[in-house]
Amino acid sequence: MSLSAPPELGAPHAAPPRRLPWRTSAAAALARLVAAGSRRLGTGAGGVAGGRFALRLDPRALARLGRARTVVLVTGTNGKTTTTAMLSRVLGVLGEVAVNGDGANLPDGVTAALAARPRVPLAVLEVDEFHVPAVAAAVRPVCLVLLNLTRDQLDRVGEVRAVERALRKAVAELPGTTVVANCDDPLVVSVGLAASSAVWVAAGQTWHADATACARCGEPLRHEGADWSCRCGLTRPEPAWVLEDETAVLGDGVRVPLGLGLPGRANAANAALALATAATLGVPPRLAAERLSTITEVGGRYRRVEVHGRTVRLLLAKNPAGWRETLPMLEPGAPIVLAVNGREADGRDLSWLWDVPFGQLAGRTVVVSGERALDLAVRLTYAEVPHTVRPDPLDAISAAGPGPVELVANYTAFRDVSRRLAGRHG
């Protein structure tokens, strides 16, 4: 990728979509109708249902709604929703953007997002790792952003390495797609190298346990500083972008401070990948960074709300890599509520709790909560972190003592707390 000669701002990607076949138009209209109806009834999940109806009426709706415009897909184990929010904010400088900002990242949710805005020239869509092959084959994205691949919900979806193989195969069949990916994640690199073009970003990685053996041949990887390599030839590619703390450094030495409104190293990594993606579409990095700095919450994450007279910050962590990134974000001295459920959407197997360094919380006030509070209680007991147990997260917040509280919850626990606190402000 040549950074010195970016394409013209807004061109050639922002061409308006062609006319849609009547069947697709009808399917899109139906999807919008269902979504609007569900919004009026307050059930919320209408977008997804609308997408499902649309795909039933026109099985090719996703392809037809997506192909006529410039689509960026965002995937990976962690950071999809945040990176999608970042990219849609940044690409807004090129034109209007369709986005599944609600996190509905299966084909029906993706279809619904495109159907909601059939005439806008750009789309940024987060896609569940498992559904990338189907969605990408349908919409033919100009860019695929590949954030990271780590273990998540093992009981439900199987092995991270099988995901890597499926993505690698899908990417090899997309000649027009540029993969923008983190070269510090060996599994991600194995996928990206199969693409016809790739932009590598050294965005760092704090979780290595899923990539100690080579994705291509199974031999142990050798690490040397930031570099890593395998006997079979798989090697860390040379990055075009390097993330240094909160600054993105381009290949030509230009430094772009990120100035993010979101906390944590993981969000800086997401931002670096968003900047690199936006640059391939013609958005200058400084302009992109300026737009990024205006984001302070994403789908309720990082939001501060008032509960029983104290301010609570809501943090989401879904898997060991996510928890590992989140624990260091916690405000020193503030009491902490940890809430974990083990429903289908979370993964019913909570073995991963033992991969999270909860010992870091020693000396702090901790309340464990959620439907699987007892799993957390045993984990913290063995880590010698004193805690109290309050299964209801709002009770747990009350029990956490005075002052601002930090709440970290996994997927459905976070969703439930967010719903119960909807409409409140910090």
Binding site: R151, L154, D155, G158, E159, R161, A209, T212, A213, G218, E219, P220, P320, R348, D349, S351, W352, L353, W354, D355, L374, D375, A377, V378, R379, T381, Y382, A383, E384
Partner: protein
């Protein structure tokens, strides 16, 4: 037991550590420390020789390639087998169970030699066994989670650890395998966190004498909840 501290080997956590398996080492160490016995965890990494002087060896879960890599490494550096021959305690879960057996076939169809410390062999089953498991044995029931494709057959040199009351286990109504001080189960990940009786059985082998009572109320509460959940799932 040699020296003053009990030395707990966490075997190849880089490849056999898929499901929070380091939890078993943390549980054993903590249960010793709470009883005033010093203990340390020794990570045995891929690419390095396997020490033969440790008191306990723990093998966790892993994916097919990782499991084949682990078996090859442990056969090339037979420290664990030497330790087992002098009576050291070996505990394997899931892929660890399969690696300790005489052979295992991965989903691609390739047969790999195991360490031969248990008289078991494993081949892929029809579908993955995923979910909560309850195993009856001669102490309080074992509760855990399983996630494996393998079906394991025992030969006369090993006996099953217990009888499956909920879930799949070996695939023939039994779970796990025991030969001397080598013990393995399909209950994966940090299974010792939920099953202090199993943890203390291993420690009794290490110490040469049963360790004293160690009440941990949180564990009792979690056990009751999980056993109830497994029972409810069975009747659903």
């Amino acid at each position: 037991m040699t020296g003053t501290a009990v030395r707990i080997g966490l075997v190849l956590p880089d490849v056999l550590g898929t499901y929070g398996d380091s939890g078993n080492a943390a549980v054993l160490r903590q249960r010793l420390r709470w009883r005033g016995i010093d203990a340390e965890v020794v990570d045995v990494h891929l690419g390095a020789p396997v020490p033969s002087g440790l008191d306990v060896y723990l093998l966790g879960g892993g994916e097919d390639e990782a499991q084949a890599l682990a078996a090859a490494h442990l056969r090339a550096h037979p420290g664990l087998q030497r330790a087992a021959a002098r009576g050291a305690v070996v505990f394997g879960v899931c892929a660890g169970l399969q690696v300790l057996g005489s052979s295992f076939v991965v989903s691609g169809g390739t047969r790999h030699a195991g360490l031969g410390l248990l008289d078991v062999s494993t081949s892929p089953g029809e579908r993955r066994a995923v979910g909560e498991v309850v195993v009856e044995w001669d102490r309080e029931p074992l509760t855990g989670f399983e996630n494996h494709l393998g079906v394991t057959t025992l030969g006369p040199g090993s006996r099953p650890l217990g009888r499956v009351a909920a879930g799949t286990g070996n695939g023939d109504g039994t779970d796990g395998a025991v030969t001397g001080h080598v013990l393995a189960t399909y209950l994966h990940g940090p299974v010792l966190a939920r099953n202090p009786a199993l943890a203390d059985l291993l420690l009794s082998w290490v110490l040469g004498t049963p360790p004293g009572e160690l009440p941990v109320p949180e564990v009792g509460e979690l056990r009751r909840e999980r056993l109830r959940a497994a029972r409810a799932a069975r009747w659903r």
